[in-house]
Structures are given as structure tokens and as C-alpha cells.
């Protein structure tokens, strides 16, 4: 039994003093030819923007590999990003679309970005995944996306339009984002 674990606590409203430097929103340098802007608005149970949100993402590289460079040493791909939502609840990352990654029993998972949402009023992070609308075929058989009730799956699929992938996050209520217990 995991009873000696350190409990999680909210990041509160003041994490922006150090945790969210601008460079952590860029997983690839500005100007990378295949860069994609991953963006959306985080809203609460009344549909109001959440300006004290800290969004973290973790993803594979273009080839679907999680081999990565250490964070904070240069521009090599680290797979990790962190962003402070702005006054309108908006998050924005510059990423490359990840490749498909292995699933169990030799299967494959559709390209996806893992996301953790921290914030004032969140005693522990909410975990979700971002899939991509131009991967219809791979999404249909993804072993994680298919765990989600069919009527809610679209809430995890970012709308891809050129070099922008958009997905809003609703913490509670109508259109609530499906969250995972990991």
C-alpha cells in the first residue's frame, strides 16, 4: 500500500514568480518549418476563463520516440513544455506533431500529447491527452481514446487547421474535458 507518499497540494495563484518562463512554451525553436501551435482556452464550471492555470505537456518527437535531451541545456528536443494561462485563460505551445508511439501487445497509439493541468483551486493536477483531428484513422483505434465514451471523444481531439491545433479545456460542466486517473 502506498501510504507513505507525499500528498499533492495546489500550486496556488503565485507560481508565475518563477515556474513559467516564456521559453518553456517552445518545444521547438520559432521558425521550425513543421512547427505547430497548440493552443486553447481553459474555462471553469461557469465557463469563465482560468487565468491561474499552469499547463504542462509531455510528448514524443516526430518519429514517436521518447528519447530526449535534458531540459535547460539547449535547443535539442526535450519533449516537455509548461505554460501559464493568460488573463483570458489561453494557453499556447509551439510543438511539432508527435509520431505514433507503441501501445501494449505490439499495437500503436495515435499521435498525442500528454497534458497535466495545475492551478489555483486544483489540489492535484488534472491529466488529459490531446489528439489531432487529421489522424482520423489512427484515432479510431487508439487504445486510450477508445476508453472514453464515444460521445465525449471529440473533446480530446484538437482541431488542426494548417499549423495550428486548437483544443479548449473545460474543467467542469457542459463539455467537460475527459480526465484520466493515472
Amino acid at each position: 500500500m502506498s501510504t507513505d507518499l507525499t500528498p499533492s497540494q495546489t500550486v496556488g495563484p503565485y507560481f508565475g514568480v518563477s515556474m513559467t518562463p516564456e521559453e518553456l512554451t517552445r518545444l521547438v525553436p520559432e521558425g521550425t518549418p513543421d512547427a505547430v501551435v497548440l493552443t486553447g482556452v481553459v474555462t471553469d464550471g461557469e465557463g469563465k476563463p482560468v487565468p491561474e492555470g499552469m499547463i504542462e505537456i509531455w510528448q514524443a518527437d516526430r518519429e514517436g520516440s521518447y528519447d530526449r535531451a535534458p531540459l535547460g541545456e539547449g535547443e535539442a528536443f526535450t519533449g516537455f513544455g509548461r505554460c501559464h494561462t493568460d488573463d483570458d485563460g489561453l494557453y499556447r505551445f509551439l510543438i511539432v506533431k508527435p509520431g505514433p508511439v507503441p501501445a501494449s501487445k505490439g499495437g500503436m497509439q495515435a499521435p498525442h500529447v500528454s497534458m497535466a493541468i495545475f492551478g489555483a483551486g486544483l489540489v492535484k493536477p488534472l491529466r488529459t491527452r490531446v489528439y489531432f483531428s487529421d489522424e482520423t484513422e489512427a484515432n479510431r483505434t487508439d487504445p486510450v481514446l477508445t476508453l472514453v465514451d464515444e460521445s465525449r471523444r471529440h473533446l480530446l481531439v484538437a482541431k488542426v487547421d494548417g499549423s495550428v491545433a486548437s483544443l479548449d479545456i473545460r474543467l467542469q460542466g457542459d463539455g467537460e474535458t475527459p480526465f484520466f486517473e493515472l
Binding site: 501510504t3 507518499l5 499533492s8 497540494q9 501487445k105 500528454s114 491527452r129
Partner: protein, 237 residues
């Protein structure tokens, strides 16, 4: 060629020590806690991997919050150290520990912090370090002050330090708050008390340590951080 073995997942059970998302006494959880049940997910490669760090990614002065300005910050200088472990007691090496805190007057350098209490030009309240081969981390800082917040009439946050740790995987990521022993404000704080178990709450309180206290210099406090361990030892196939 046969398929690679499934990755060994990380142990569940953090739900037994963490607060539920909805804690009615903690007002700001009310509109942010999801209503739908969480969907349980068997860990895949995406969950058992995470960012990596090297000692070169943090500069050596980032663990000392008391020496990077012209003069000493106001307040009680303290050493805060401990080990990052998994819950099999194994050290979590080379992982990033980030911290942020209020100054000794209970004030953050943040546009939203309107507490009528002074900023300290010699204190920014942020630190980072990488754990060593024994999982140890250490900061030198000043003891933060308590401050009021809007949860309920006359609500106060007890003195605390925010600590953020990665561990080896996306699922081991932990952000917590560390408190000081004997603080009378703990009893009325909905954030500290959001953790349901009294023993789990006690694990958020550091302990004073005379042995590592430096004579004529600084009191020392110890705070170990325990992350989820692996479900089972990976088997070579």
C-alpha cells in the same frame, strides 16, 4: 520480431493520500473540480516516461536564495533539505526540484499579490536544484511569513514553501506545499486540511534538525519527498 514487452506501470494509491478535487471548504475548488468520473488508464510508454535533467541544466547558485542580491534578505535564514525517494525507499536521482515562496513578511513578487506587506529587494523567493546520487536536495532561504487570503473571513495561509518535483515519469510528477512544525495557523487552513488523512497531512510538515543546523548561521529543517514507485521490478526478457 516479437513485440516489446509492455512498460511496467507506476503504483496507484496516491488517491488515498491526496485530497479529492472537490473540497467544499476550499472555495476555489468548487468550480474547478471535474464532475465526471476520471477514466482509469493502464500506463503506456507515454505515462512511464518524462523529461530528464542534468546538473548542467541548473546553475549552482540557484539553490541559495540568500546570496544573489546586494544584501542579505530580511528574515530568519534557514537550510531546507531532504531526499526525494520513491515509496520503495529508493533515491530519485538527477531530478529537478523547484521551489517558490513568500518573503519573511508573507509577500510574493506577483502582480496579483495585494497584501499590504513589504517586498524585500534582496529576496525573490525562487530556487531550483537537481537531486544528487542519494536523492538529496538542499536550499538555503529565509523562513516565509503567513499571509491572508480570501477563502473565508479572516483566513490565513500558514507559512509554507511550494515544492515541485518531477521524478522519472509523467505520472510521478508532484507539486506540494511544505509547512513548519507547531504553526497555529495550520488548524484553520483549508489548503493544508484538504488532505483527508491526519498522517498524510503530517507528512507535509518539515522537522527541525539540530544535527544539520549550522552554528552561528542557520537553523535546518528536513523534508523528504516520497513519489510513487514502480508496480514491480522490470524483468529482463
Amino acid at each position: 520480431m516479437s513485440a516489446p514487452p509492455d512498460p511496467v506501470g507506476y503504483r496507484r494509491g496516491n488517491d488515498l493520500v491526496d485530497a479529492p478535487y472537490l473540497v467544499p471548504e476550499f472555495k476555489s475548488t468548487r468550480l474547478r473540480a471535474p464532475r465526471q468520473p476520471l477514466i482509469s488508464l493502464k500506463h503506456t510508454l507515454s505515462e512511464v516516461t518524462g523529461p530528464i535533467f542534468s546538473h548542467r541544466s541548473v546553475s549552482p547558485d540557484e539553490h541559495d536564495l540568500t546570496t544573489r542580491h546586494e544584501a542579505n534578505p530580511i528574515g530568519q535564514r534557514i537550510i531546507l533539505g531532504g531526499r526525494v525517494l520513491d515509496n520503495d525507499g529508493r533515491p530519485v536521482r538527477n531530478t529537478l526540484v523547484e521551489m517558490w515562496q513568500a518573503n519573511s513578511a508573507g509577500r510574493y513578487i506577483h502582480k496579483w499579490d495585494r497584501y499590504q506587506s513589504p517586498l524585500d529587494p534582496n529576496f525573490d523567493g525562487v530556487g531550483r536544484c537537481i537531486t544528487d546520487d542519494t536523492g538529496a536536495y538542499q536550499f538555503t532561504t529565509i523562513k516565509p511569513g503567513p499571509y491572508p487570503f480570501g477563502n473565508h473571513y479572516n483566513a490565513w495561509r500558514p507559512a509554507h514553501i511550494h515544492l515541485s518535483v518531477f521524478g522519472p515519469a509523467f505520472v510521478t510528477r508532484l507539486v506540494t506545499q511544505m509547512y513548519f512544525p507547531g504553526d497555529p495557523l495550520l488548524a484553520q487552513d483549508p489548503v493544508f486540511n484538504s488532505v483527508p488523512g491526519s498522517r498524510a497531512r503530517e507528512r507535509l510538515i518539515c522537522r527541525f534538525d539540530l544535527e544539520t543546523t549550522v552554528p552561528d548561521w542557520a537553523n535546518s529543517y528536513r523534508f523528504d519527498i516520497v513519489l510513487r514507485g514502480r508496480d514491480a521490478t522490470p524483468i529482463e526478457s
